[in-house]
Amino acid sequence: MNKIQLIHTLPNVFQNRTDIVSDIWNQDVTFEKGKMYLVEANSGTGKSSLCSYIYGYRHDYQGKILFDGEDISGYTVAKWTNIRKKHFALLWQELRMFPELTAWENVEIKNKLTGYQKKKQILEWFDMLGITDKLNAKMGKMSFGQQQRVALIRSLCQPFDFLFVDEPISHLDDTNAEIMGRIMTAEAQKQGAGIIATSIGKHINLAYEKVFNL
């Protein structure tokens, strides 16, 4: 997939508001593969909604969203499953990890599905992010910042055209944020993929093509 287009897209909850000033809502916006974008927003402006719409998780919007010119509103379950497995990687703001499993198992459950990353690569990322000692720790017992790092590793365990990261460094120190940025950029470049990051203030430092104000 090369192109994501939003055409006059607007969350249904905003439809009666006239005071919306946004670079994205109710505009024509295009995200291209291979480029990096930052979406800056105040809380409550629909940043997570945007990710959910593009990820096929929610459909409560008006206007259109097109993937390579194709309207996604008619996509089947099988098509969405395929997109989530092979085209879009998403790091959720709320992480969506499994607290019953260990850090390693949380990554493995995704990589078993896609069979994409080598064990060596995954262990290297754990090492780079300084959480190798947490490999066999239960996710539920780890801090949010540690979980955020595991979640990033999990999101990279698949082929993707776009990587969405929803507030990826909200609980990270600058050093780790910097390492995370390097890992993301390297993997995206390797795959020729685009990155769309969101933030409410503290944002991850990448070579952004364009910055949108939501």
Binding site: V77, T81, E100, E108, I109, L113
Partner: protein, 399 residues
């Protein structure tokens, strides 16, 4: 899949599944035993494979006077029609007697050699339960299929052969032998081979196919051949119906009374078995309801895990699979155990049967197994669809 199972088995309630398991086991055992017992019982009951139990044979009483006054003991057309109109009668047929002379000779190399005058009768073919090709007469052929009364065989075996020290004959041996039959009348005389297709304990007559009888009556009967029948055969829808007895009594008709009792027993047994099986079905349905409730509860409790799995790229089918496998696996386990229990119980009651019927040949357990497997398939399909539906509702975020 191991990790997915590790995740999704959280919150599984063992007591609920054990409850389902035993409840469903009881239900399935009852259903299978019902089917099996009914089949086994039918084997006991069906000493006569040529006639179903709910056929009745009706004739008029021959009183002291009727012989003298010459009053007819045949059924008139009107009488047959009247009987046919009764709503306890499903269908009715007449016995057609032969209007020619029949002589039979039976030779068994040096042992037995007897020859006798006899007669033939026929009933409509639909009342005779023999494979159609065995009970077929081709015009011009000199082979006639014959059903003999079992009494004849008993008379020979326990009277004649016993007294003269001759070998006893089984039905199978006789079936392989030919009867030499001489038919004469209307100036014609021909020789035929009689092939014994079986012995009937219900019919006290020598039965030939309707087709042969029609042809032979035309060929060999002298003059006014169409006679009124003296006996009728009828199928009734409910042999326990009191109206049958009172109707027959009112008109001075007779029937093979004890057979009426036997068919009553069969009928009542069929009703009882049906009731028991319905109870089994109800227990099974309730237990499957428990299973579905506990699976739904499980899905509910694990809904956030299921949702996250769907969001990281697992398809609904993959996510549903562990629960589907769990339910189907339980169903298979129940069926296997139920069949085992059924076999044990069956051995107990067959041992009791054998005291009464030493040379009992019981049917296999295939019908009961088929019922079990069909139930398993239906229930499993239902389970699979229900679980998938539940997962899809998580996909659509309708929870």
């Amino acid at each position: 899949m191991k990790l997915v199972w590790k995740l999704l088995r959280q919150h599984i309630s063992i007591p609920q599944f054990v409850g389902f398991f035993f409840a469903n086991l009881v239900g399935v055992v009852i259903i299978l035993l019902g089917v099996q017992f009914y089949n086994d019982y039918k084997a006991l009951d069906q000493e006569d494979s040529f006639m179903k139990a709910d056929y009745l044979i009706v004739n008029k009483k021959i009183g002291a006077l009727s012989g003298l006054t010459g009053s007819s003991n045949t059924f008139s057309k009107a009488e047959i029609e009247e009987l046919e109109d009764e709503d306890f009668v499903e269908r009715i047929g007449a016995f057609t007697p032969s209007s020619y002379s029949v002589k039979a000779r039976f030779d068994v190399e040096g042992f037995v050699n007897f020859s006798t005058e006899m007669f033939f009768e026929s009933v409509p073919d639909e009342f005779v339960d023999v494979k159609s090709d065995a009970w077929d007469y081709q015009e011009g052929s000199d082979e006639i299929p014959i059903i003999l009364p079992k009494n004849y065989l008993d008379l020979y075996n326990f009277g004649y052969a016993q007294g003269k020290g001759l070998p006893k004959l089984s039905e199978g041996i006789l079936g392989a032998m030919k009867l030499n039959i001489q038919i004469a009348g209307n100036g014609n005389s021909d020789s035929f081979d009689g092939r014994i297709v079986g012995f009937s304990s219900r019919l006290n007559t020598i039965l030939v196919p309707e087709k042969f009888m029609r042809w032979a009556n035309e060929q060999y009967a002298d003059g006014n051949a169409t006679k009124e029948p003296t006996r009728l055969i009828m199928e009734v829808n409910n042999p326990t119906d009191d109206r049958i007895t009172s109707y027959l009594q009112d008109r001075d008709y007779e029937t093979d009374e004890d057979k009426l009792d036997a068919s009553k027993t069969t009928f009542i047994l069929r009703v009882i078995v049906s009731i028991v099986m319905i109870v089994g079905v109800v227990i099974s349905i309730l237990s499957i309801y428990i299973l579905m409730l506990s699976v739904f509860l499980l899905v509910q409790k694990n809904s956030s895990k299921l949702e996250n799995l769907l969001l990281i790229g697992y398809s609904p089918a993959k996510v549903s699979f562990p629960y589907q496998a769990l339910t189907v696996g339980l169903n298979v386990l129940v069926l296997i155990l139920a069949v085992a229990v059924m076999l044990v119980v069956r051995n107990i009651y067959l041992a009791m049967f054998e005291n009464f019927f030493p040379d009992l040949e019981v049917p296999g357990i295939i019908p009961a197994l088929c019922v079990g497997v069909v139930l398993l398939i239906i229930v499993s399909i239902f389970n699979i669809i229900a679980v998938h539906g539940k997962v899809m509702s998580i996909w659509r975020r309708k929870e």
